[in-house]
Amino acid sequence: MEKQIKRTILEQARDWFESDRKVILARVIQTWGSSPCPVGSDMIVNDKGEFFGSVSGGCVESNVIEECLDLLKNNNSFKQLEFKVSDDNAWNVGLACGGEIKIYIEKINS
């Protein structure tokens, strides 16, 4: 476990890839208002739904994971996601901080 914490996100992505996992890289590419993670923050997701890193401090990660799994399922290679201020009906996919973020997800391929 300790070793995992010390690994960088990209090294972890490579390790997953080398052990035959499908890997998606998600990065924050634009932010408006107050958002917890700056542009360039990254997170990786594999086909088992495991993830590492962060793009929002917990607000939209679950949704990003689902989007990544969908990307794999649909055999696409990249997609842009947008998240806005949360409303009461969608607490699990909104940003409580009132910010907006754009996230770019892409598959790692050989």
Binding site: K6, T8, L10, E11, A13, R14, F17, L25, R27, I29, Q30, P38, V39, G40, S77, F78, Q80, K102, Y104, E106, K107, I108, N109, S110
Partner: protein
């Protein structure tokens, strides 16, 4: 993104180079950018803007384009003089921050791989070490021995080479004497005042880990100021 690009980033990061990852958001192509490097058709026509963002260490979608640039910049190199117990706590605290650490001490009983696993250690006098190390304003110096014959040459080198952060452990009394010695060696008042001494922000703690935390906090604060100023 292709695996070879991922591998290239990992390799470049470990050799502490400045570069950027470019991504064309319309077709998903990625490429590594460095100054002077030839770019493919996806990016070549935006070269000027890319260079501009890269010099400013600015991450983001370049205005008016669908090009995303993420910069990877050389981490700050911190040289710690004195392989004392506070240095051990410093290494722990620096672990998750983007700094490269080198510890130097001429005293062989202090500077051992057992006491400092996973960091670069050099067992020699700072004067000798600085003859070989390449240093500039991307460096920080922390002196911990409060022994003038070990600390002073390091402080002088750091002042001359414009390290962005210089901090020296020692009481106010020790620091006053240190400033006096530097003045006698010909350093200006302004240069001497740039040394953080006594080192660290005021946390009120006296234990080793607390002192280390106050030092790390001060260094992070100063490095963030540096980054903000470069973006203005």
């Amino acid at each position: 993104m292709k695996l070879e690009i991922l591998n290239e980033i990992i390799q470049k990061k470990s050799s502490s180079q400045n570069f950027a990852l470019l991504t064309n958001l319309t077709n998903g192509n990625s490429e590594i950018f460095e100054f002077g490097k030839f770019l493919s058709n996806d990016f070549e026509s935006y070269k000027k803007q890319i260079e501009n963002y890269h010099s400013l260490k600015k991450n983001g979608v370049i205005d008016g384009t669908q090009i995303f640039i993420q910069n990877f910049t050389k981490p700050i190199e911190v040289i710690i003089v004195g392989a004392v117990h506070i240095a051990q706590y410093l290494v722990d605290l620096f672990k998750n921050l983007n700094f490269v650490i080198t510890i130097v001490d001429p005293r062989k009983f202090f500077i051992t791989a057992e006491r400092f696993p996973d960091v670069k250690i050099i067992n020699d006098w700072p004067e000798e070490i600085f003859k070989k190390l390449e240093t500039d304003s991307n460096n920080a110096l922390i002196t911990l021995t409060h022994d003038p014959k070990i600390d002073d040459p390091a402080l002088k080198h750091a002042l001359k080479n414009k390290f962005f952060y210089i901090g020296a452990l020692g009481s106010k009394k020790t620091h006053t004497k240190r400033c006096q010695r530097l003045k006698e060696s010909g350093f200006t008042q302004e240069e001497i005042a740039s040394i953080h001494g006594p080192i660290g922000i005021k946390l009120g703690g006296k234990s080793g880990p607390e002192i280390a935390l106050s030092i790390v906090s001060q260094l992070v604060l100063e490095s963030n100021k540096l980054l903000l100023n470069s973006k203005k």
